[in-house]
């Protein structure tokens, strides 16, 4: 049994090394956020230091940081709710009343994701300008919800397919209307699936950068835009940037960790059960 024990120890070591290597950049950023600005740029890099919360205080004291954070919350919540409102009836209809065209509709919806955002950047920018939607939260919500809609429909569809149609059939016999069937029977049954879908949509909208960078400047700018503004050379406040970044990614990282198993089902299009 000895070689087996050694093989397992080696396996554990390789596994942990690989995991730490992947996580190291995030860890390093979090560590940097607790350093002073001088320690943050020290070479050789400082590993042991007296942690300070100064950077977090400085970031949170800046009124604009909270404004960016509020925009991020508003945009990801708003887009998710809008996408769910559109997608739940569609997924319900396709899952329980499939027609010959259901498969085509699903594939077509997915194919709209193939239209690269850059291909339509110019018209969207000009449309948004003339509609007064540039740099507004509403404008970004519309854009983000359209871009997650196909994924949301697909994910809900795959969750709804798992509900035995007999359950809905029975309620229909008892005289439930279409809407009652959806809200009183289906939604409670599928709460975990809908929650996972909402979470995926929130993650995607929270991290969305292309439209945020191109359609917003100040008023409706999200945390992605805020962090991007540190890319200029004068943004050499690494410790503060790290603190701001840590705050920006923490909620989504925790969401992602909590829901990774359900996310896989939605993202894998039935390739993984």
């Amino acid at each position: 049994m000895r070689p087996k024990w050694q093989a397992r120890a080696a396996l554990a070591m390789v596994g942990w090394l690989a995991a730490l290597a992947m996580f190291f950049p995030i860890l390093w950023m979090v560590l940097t956020s607790f350093k002073t600005e001088i320690a943050a740029v020290a070479t050789p890099p400082v590993v042991f230091f007296k942690p300070t919360l100064e950077n977090y205080r400085a970031v949170l004291e800046r009124a604009d940081y909270l404004a960016f954070a509020r925009n991020s919350v508003a945009v990801s919540l708003g887009s998710t709710l809008l996408a769910l409102a559109l997608a739940i009836p569609a997924a319900y209809s396709m899952a329980f009343f499939p027609s010959r065209r259901t498969k085509d509709i699903l594939l077509w919806m997915l194919s709209t994701k193939m239209l690269p955002a850059v291909g339509v950047l110019v018209p969207i920018y000009l449309l948004w300008r003339s509609l007064g939607l540039l740099d507004t939260i509403a404008g970004l919500i519309v854009m983000d919800s359209i871009s997650v809609l196909p994924l949301v429909v697909w994910m809900l569809f795959s969750f709804f397919r798992e509900v035995p149609p007999e359950i809905l059939e029975a309620s229909r016999m008892d005289g439930a209307s279409q809407r009652e069937e959806m809200t009183h029977i289906l939604l409670p049954l599928c709460t975990p699936g809908i929650a996972a879908t909402a979470l995926l949509s929130m993650i995607l909208c929270w991290n969305e950068a292309f439209w945020s960078l191109n359609l917003t400047t100040v008023r409706a700018a999200t945390l992605t835009v805020f962090t991007a503004s540190f890319s200029s050379p004068e943004g050499l406040f690494w410790a503060k940037l790290s603190a701001a970044s840590t705050l920006a990614i923490a909620p989504i990282l925790i969401f992602g960790w909590m829901s990774q198993r359900q996310l896989v089902r939605g993202l894998s299009f039935g390739a993984v059960k």
Partner: protein
Amino acid sequence: MTGTKPARQKRSFRTVPLLAPSIFVLFLWMVVPLAMTLWFSAENYNLLSPGKNSFAGLGNYRDLLTSRALWIAMGNTLFLVGAVLVITLVFGTLLSVLLDSEFPGRGICRLLVVAPFFVMPTVSALIWKNMFMNPVFGVFAWITRSLGIGTIDFFSSMPLLAIVVIVAWEWTPFAVLILLPALQSLNREQKEAARLDGAGPIALFYHIELPHLRRPMAVVAMIEVIFFLSLFAEIYVTTGGGPGLASTNLAFLIFRDALLGWDVGRASAGGVFAIILANIVALFLMRVVGRGLEDMR
């Protein structure tokens, strides 16, 4: 559709009002901007000289096709997509096989490995740009100096590779997220039987695990290609497309033409190229996913 139950076929409700909103929104989203892009691409239209629009015919396309910028951007786009795709699939598979084996703490390792996928792209790009690849204060600069190689300015000497590294780091976790559960769904008995028949770990991987991963890998490739064709934030934050055009992809070229050069006509023609490129890739990918839908139940 062999398992379809009769209840599913009974249509006692009108389904059109349920489906219509989603289809309408997506249809609008597909048709209106597409038509506008096509229209603008045939116009001389610069936002800096308002009211001077005129019909350009194929002028914008001729300009683009004869400019070096388009071909460099096309090449960079395909290189980015191809390189990151290969890296994420190879490392994603290796990490998944590793995390599928049993060792103490593998649950925590799994969480650590998937973490980069949830980091917003602007933040990941900045982490790498500042804390690792900065030629003066970066961790890499410190390592290369300690080794006596001197410093390497990654973003000016190998900008495209630097971006590949960043994007691969962000998306390898995605491959793990999909491939690891796929591996875990593999029948344990089948693996045990193969092992008893004398298959070593390598034979096991090639003959049992790899074929099982083919479908999930196709899905990973599809989603990644969708995102990589429009790669933008990582370039915007790090190199700004430079030096010169060295790290400008199609997305960034259009952005430069449109929002920095205000040349709507030229940017739209670029957009048409981006759409054509995406459709060639999509045609192939949709077939793979369509096949997946066939045996979904």
